[in-house]
Amino acid sequence: MKDILHIARAHITTALRERITLFWFVVFPVFLLTILSLIFGKVGNEGEISFEISLINQEDSASSGFAFSDVIAGAFHEMSTTVDGALEPLFSLHTLDDATDSDQFLESELTALRRGRRAAVLLIPAGLNQAVVANLLQPDASTALADPVRLQLFMSDSNAASTYASQIIQQVLTEIDRRILVEMGRFDDNQAIASETHWIGGEGEETSYVDFVLPGIILMGFFVNGLFGVPGTILFNRDRKVLRRYWVTPLSVARYLVGFGLGHLTLCAVQFVLLYSLGVFVFGAAIRFASPASIGLLILAATTFMAFGFLIASLAKTANGGMATANILNMPMMFLSGLFFPTSGLPVFMMVIVYLNPVSYLLEGLRHSVGVQNSTLMPALTILLVPIGWILLSSLVTSRRLKWDVER
């Protein structure tokens, strides 16, 4: 028994001391979780994203007699001041105080928009207030005019930020529109039909990004550990004849494997603890892995990926070849699994990979068991059978083909 424990300990110690291993198996998943949560977790929350937009007001509300343009301008000014507690306002507003240069200003802002320095440019043209009044009196009256006056929202569809910002601005304008209609007595708010939002599954509200992504990141950690760690250690130790020194002692291959497996699973446990703690204590993840199903799936996942690593090691001719294979398989298997993006719209030849990929099944199962997925794309039984199938296949191939010593 102590020989097995020592082999396990040696595996763990080595992994934690080798800087590159430490990076890919520990630092990288942590980094990924942090980045994704920081970025995608914040989108839509106030105070955490900010767009630079310009507002050009060519309307003279004093002379037009109506203040619609002021309402619009005022709304955007308000949205560009910092709300209490937020880090930065949603919009960083560029305006010109001096009205005379406004055409020139418009040109320069449009250029800035084209160059990606602005997310959107909103032009309140002269005559807007009149146009609004006309519309209030008779629907769509303003468009019948010879020279239709419209609020112009300039955006660039070559720019993702611009697309997003313009959608937000459209929503703001819709809301202002409603306010105007209410104010002018054209729209009765009391008669308005409200919309209610219901979230199915989850905890009655939309699942947070970190809850959604955490199971996947944990599995990713196990995955790279198995995919790279197993061939890396076994093949390099074999080729460096480290293993040969073991085989002249009473240590058997079987006991070595048990020790190796124990060490590997311990490393996975370390990854889990790190990522889970980060998710819960730093990013406020609410999911819990305490159920038997979740724990079982985690262990199954760690074992499946370890088995996969052995499969690669068995089929590789040299250590470098094995690592190259691992590198080639890494990206497709990680992405074609639903880990980062949904796999629903993929063409057939890619779906084949999704369905063969053990990661897809384990991910579905884990997400479902922690409550961030309502139903599974794969039938429930396959979630267990496919990974187990891979384990069996790998055991078969390994026992037949893995060479435990180089040619002497």
Binding site: D3, R9, A10, T14, N237, R245, W247, V248, T249, L251
Partner: protein, 312 residues
């Protein structure tokens, strides 16, 4: 147990050990006995079957047929339980680069039922100051000492040393020779292979020479050398010897050979040959340089038996 071992005449007896690779007979039914508490050296040129024999005795290759009797048990191959009392220093091997020296030894100790304290082994191979160093920071000689430590960690009764001093500096080599002597003093049996003639001569009690899968000679270094009879060897530097001079040289000695620019004459009649040699050198106006007269050694035995040099 110790006393039982001491009473045994031999530690290991090999009978008709055979290994084929396809049609080739790498080891062709060899038999020998390794006396207890002796240093038993196996010599042979490359391809002689020596490596394969060692591997079978170390338990990392299975014999096709034959019997190995070790520690009183008759086996067809070395078993895991036999390995408990065997220590092996492989010719080539690595250690996990990111483990510390003492961690490596502790791990190896755990493979056996019985082990010597790690501190004692470290002292025996003079690696105590390097106890906390990572394997990857060790020099070649230090790694070799670590390997010896790993081979001795279980206080084995039978130790295999496969080319223990190859690539080491003279001081390190002497240290290892001391370790071998110490093992012998403690009643351990050592099976050794080496490319160094002086090492074989200095350490061995018994030598067995292999070639083409068979044993072609066996005995103590002295008795093997004596097999060459009353022979004396005369050597001198042999650059630019004309064909005619060379012909004449053959006339007054038993045999002559010229390799690596050294001419060696074998003779049973030293004085006569010496006189004839001096005459020859005057006749052919050949300056005798580095003239040496010596008795045959193991290298010469080897050469005469196999036609090849020990260091091949």
């Amino acid at each position: 147990m110790a006393s039982a071992t001491a009473k045994m005449a031999f530690t290991m007896k090999v009978s008709q050990l055979t290994k084929h690779y396809g049609q080739t007979k790498a080891v062709d039914g060899i038999s020998f006995t390794v006396p207890h508490a002796s240093v038993f050296t196996i010599l042979g040129p490359n391809g002689a079957g020596k490596t394969t024999t060692m591997e079978m005795l170390e338990g990392i290759r299975e014999p096709d047929s034959g019997e190995i009797e070790v520690f009183g048990e008759r086996l067809t191959k070395i078993t895991r339980s036999a390995k408990q009392r065997i220590g092996v220093l492989l010719q080539e091997g690595g250690f996990e680069p990111y483990l510390k020296v003492h961690e490596v030894l502790t791990m190896f100790a755990s493979f056996f039922h019985r082990a010597i304290p790690v501190g004692d082994i470290l002292a025996a191979v003079e690696l105590t100051e390097k106890s906390g160093a990572l394997v990857r920071t060790l020099s070649g000689g230090q790694k070799q000492r670590l390997a010896i430590g790993a081979a001795l960690i279980n206080d084995p009764d039978l130790v295999f040393l496969d080319e223990p001093t190859t690539g080491l500096d003279p001081q390190a080599r002497l240290n290892i020779w001391d370790i071998v002597s110490a093992l012998q003093a403690r009643d351990k049996t050592v099976i050794l292979t080496t490319h160094y003639m002086e090492e074989a001569e200095a350490l061995s009690d018994e030598v067995c020479i292999m070639d083409y899968g068979s044993i072609i000679a066996q005995g103590s270094p002295k008795s093997l050398a004596e097999q060459l009879g009353e022979e004396t060897l005369i050597e001198f530097r042999g650059l630019d010897v004309s064909a005619r001079a060379w012909e004449n040289l053959q006339l007054f000695c038993k045999a002559a050979r010229n390799d690596q620019m050294v001419i060696t004459l074998e003779t049973d009649h030293l004085t006569d040959t010496m006189e004839a040699l001096f005459a020859w050198s005057r006749t052919h106006d050949f300056k005798l340089r580095d003239l040496t007269v010596r008795q045959p050694n193991l290298e010469d035995v080897f050469l005469s038996l196999t036609g090849r040099r020990l260091r091949g």
